[in-house]
Symmetry: D2
Subunit: 365 residues, 4 copies
């Protein structure tokens, strides 16, 4: 082990998010993986579970002594179910590790919203205030010193990156934000479930969780924070702060990828709205962001173009017939939507250039 | 040839719609195919172009003498590009055939809307009034005696079947109808085009034609007619007649299938709206329809379940958090969205039970 | 119920083979389904398990009283695991039903081979002699009066149809028959198994069971019978009777379909072997068969062309550089490889034209 | 530009092989791309053609001044059609560049075999002797100083890596080497061709070029060289030197990946052959190779596990029933089968560790 590298451990490393974290970190020049845990596969090598990693990551999986793991590591990343993370993360923090958590347990500032959305009591609500929502594009400063980072949900990342330039500048009406989103099958996780069997999923396409999907409230809370900035800037009123959004996820027959198609209307602040101006808003807002690629005018995002990467592609158009703005964003649900965004956040946390280990991670054909 | 069968000819039979027409008619007990035409493959057997049809349909493709074809046939079905149909169909009609046309050329009642949408002058606008829009669920009576049927577009069929119960009864606000729709790749037709190559399309997902897709105005015109029925019934006012809709198509990596996800708000007429009531509206409206399957409460449509068939599955939900009704419909874009719907219409035109030859045409796994 | 129809019951109807049997029989003009059983889903409607069948087959699934089922039915089709069939089928026979069984339990004439291949003792070896191997192309006469039919395995059907013309006429050497075969994922059955999850199977391709797959001995036994005909005809000697074959199955990322690529060498009997002559052998041998489509010279079989049908496409080529004959056959593993072949056999058993209900069952695009 | 990096130019950079070369080199720490050429897209940015590369490689494509390109570059990689390479490569060499060529034009030592296989006269047969066959595992020493490297074909790489340990040690009979191979669709290149359209290719699987595919002779020539080593070592006789092989390629519905299933028989030299011993032969032969992963006994290669990487996975089994050895190898046809193998060769040519830039290039899920 080289002492100048960031010591990383991953709790719950054999799900698809865990595997993508491993893929990201084995190519990271300033990080080394110390511990990988798995309840199901403890004792096996990581590459026994994912043969693609043979010779790339042959670390033996541990059941996991969280105290020791926390003490050994600079950063522990948890890819655990909600309700489990809320109990595990505090142990890790107490023992000195910084933590990035992938569950919904620390993503909310409003405890009641969390408890209603997840139908759980939170055992450590005192951590909600401290936890930083791990979207580097919005919370970069807070991440630098964060002890606990709540990695955003995949749908929220995709939705919020698309909406932020318009919400923060009061350019859209906030009473009707409609997000129609599509995810690849890996979003359902790695499990033996007939619903995700090849013969059941190939050539299928359907909505699910059409009312009350948990990510709805996560998106709405963050949209609330973003729209509050427009109020601060005098471009909107308190009444314009987002309270709820319409969100519908769909399952599509590809392994990785996510597309959000968003329908909003321009507010009075958006003068002379055209497709070109919608594009300009994006260009300006994200001009310094490495991982948000604003496509040139009228080229629309495609999940194919972000596969395997930490990029999120965005663009939008205005339809004068119906006075509707359509916003589109595409990301890899395991990449920018989960594991690679966590690596981006880790880079910020440890003072590295944000694209370290992530700059050329793309898939070609 | 058996004289008691309906004599069918298909103009432009080697595209995907043409092939699906052939598939449908070879299993039809009261129809026989007389002529198949193809500009590109004249002289070859149909089964040379589509080897799956070897032994099933080995008819030799003709370049096509439209006068003779019309005289020989009871029904001619044209699967030609728009702008070509408008010149070919009149010749067929003049020579005594009844015609079902698959292009956009005869779908509109408003000439100006057609000419603006298709950027073409119409050579035979006098036929627009006569042409019957080939959705049997709405125009069954007119189809019985129709000389010219304009088979609806795939996106319009999917959208209109989902919206009709609500529009005709004034149950939804008509100023913001948002249709987010997804099509399989066969919708782009059978052609050598890199954009639809396997390596470019598999694991891709993207919006296209996000503003100004032609089906937008076709949907809007028919929504206008449907909403006018609510005015007639005293459940809405003239101001509620639909003038425009928001429509965004997307391309998904499966061969056949189409899903529409529609966002509308209940009007004051829809008292006590709930998900259950949305479902009841569907159940009542389509209780006598064979091919519209209203799913049981909270089961949502999936393109997998309609693959290869003339069925369209519908359901909807109401989200009280945002006062939004979400409607969903799934069909096979080549089935109910094109060729099999034409066979359904042909059955009506020739006085046959509407499901003749279509009742058990499904794909299992 | 119409009394002039064949009364069919299916035991184990909710697996993929069962569902394909239902799909086939609902479109069959002279058969009606009486009972469908399912251990897992008894009490539900068949269309609850397979929503694609809504309105097409809404029969309620029964746990199954085999005595009553046998008494009610003209034909019972069992789609049960091996080891279960061998106990269930005798009960059905005793109670007067004719039976088509899909397991391996009644496919062998040699008890020892069965018991070694399946690692099971057979509780009713007395039935092995009576059971007719359900390949209509080889055992048509025997099927007409058969009480018990053992529906062939999918790989054996594909391999034997390709090899039969050459084996029966002594045209190939029998000491080295190499069968490299590929199956779609539905061959693994309908089950919650991570190995067949979409994310694990899409874009995967691999051999499995490379030594000792059960179908190896089933193929070999039938090849023995076919090659014995060449001995009878004086075109080969006892030493040429096939005792073993080399067989390797592979799993490919498509739902349905199977391709066999077979490598054999011409014997001395095959004078002046060329690709053209290989094709002629097929043309002659299968000239009266509806479901074996011999492709024109040098067009090679493709699983796409047989999808959803009972067809099997064959062709072959001769490579003079290496004195090797390559034979290829493509079928749908659930169609000619399982359920639709059973319907073909049922048609023979009940004196119907062999293609009744099967003639136009194809998928187009 | 950093002067201590290897200056790379790619001729024909917008095909799939070209794009994979770009993907590989943008992540390579000691190489920089100087020129990219394209006949079709000159003047556009590389990322206009492949949007996935936005921000990763935005180099402007040139039509190509080969003299200047050669003078500017340390290494020029050509991804041109055969017959074009044979004219272009000499110009590049004359102007001082080292060259790796992807076509078949410089892969053969025997001119007659090339000219027969490619049906072309070779304009520069004098280069055939000099050209090094770019399989680092066999020609590592020659590559170090090579001026011209002929990158092997995808099928030959997959076949030869699997066969080499057995051929060089005389362990198998050489009169009947049967290679049944399967490729993903990207092997057909990037082009507008209906045969490779999504709707034509998805769920299809078929053999092609079943007799006389060009790679057959390329494999045979190299097998000849490998088997000659067994003669040198006294383990075989001149008669055992391979002259021809049986090879059949198939097209499978996945974008990238290749699997070879090879059937051979043990020679008298292979004492006590078992599956375990077959595995041991691999383990020993490839113990020092980074990119050849010998799977543990009885785990078989899967194209999924090598996707996007330069790895090739191998294993084999022995079937005592038929005295047959089955060998299996899986690689990415664009990776180890083309572009990434070229980067491996480039690393050897320029004295870098062989896995530079390639070590962790894998795809996870």
């Amino acid at each position: 082990m080289e002492s100048n590298k960031i010591k990383i451990s991953i709790i719950g490393s054999t799900g698809y998010v865990g595997a993508e974290l491993v893929r990201g970190f084995v190519g990271h020049p300033y990080a080394e993986i110390i511990h990988l845990t798995s309840q199901s596969f403890a004792g096996k090598k990581f590459s026994d579970v994912y043969p693609v990693f043979r010779g790339v990551c042959d670390i033996t999986l541990e059941e996991g002594d969280y105290v020791k793991i926390a003490q050994d590591s600079d950063l522990v990343i948890t890819a655990l179910p909600h309700g489990v993370s809320s109990k595990t993360v505090p142990v890790l923090l107490e023992n000195g590790a910084r933590v990035i958590d992938h569950s919904g347990d620390f993503r909310y500032k409003n405890l009641a919203t969390y408890e209603k959305s997840y139908k759980l009591d939170h055992p450590h609500p005192e951590l909600l205030g401290e936890a930083v929502y791990g979207l580097p594009e919005f919370y970069r400063e807070e991440l630098k010193t964060a002890r606990l980072v709540a990695n955003p949900g995949c749908y929220p990342t995709c939705s919020l990156i698309a909406l932020a330039p318009f919400l923060t500048q009061g350019l859209i009406k906030t009473d009707s934000i409609i997000i129609n989103a599509v995810s690849g099958v890996s979003g359902a996780g790695r499990k033996s479930d007939l619903a995700y069997a090849f013969c059941e999923t190939d050539e299928a396409f359907k909505p699910y969780g059409a009312v009350g999907h948990r990510h709805t409230t996560e998106i709405a809370e963050q949209c609330g924070f973003l729209s509050a900035k427009a109020v601060e800037a005098g471009k909107a009123t308190e009444a314009d702060v987002v309270k709820a959004v319409t969100f519908t996820p769909h399952l599509a027959p590809f392994k990785r990828g996510m597309l959000a198609s968003i329908y909003v209307r321009p507010s009075g602040v958006f003068e002379g709205v055209t497709s070109e101006k919608v594009n300009e808003v994006y260009q300006e807002f994200y001009s310094n962001e490495t991982f948000v690629r604003v496509l040139e005018n009228k080229v629309l995002p495609d999940v194919k173009s972000v596969y395997g990467s930490n990029y999120i592609d965005v663009n939008g158009m205005y339809d004068p017939e119906t006075d509707m703005i359509k916003l589109f964003s595409a990301q890899d649900n395991l990449g920018k939507g989960a594991a690679l965004q966590a690596i981006q956040a880790a880079n910020v946390m440890f003072g590295l250039p944000e694209d370290t280990g992530l700059g050329s991670v793309i898939r070609g054909v």
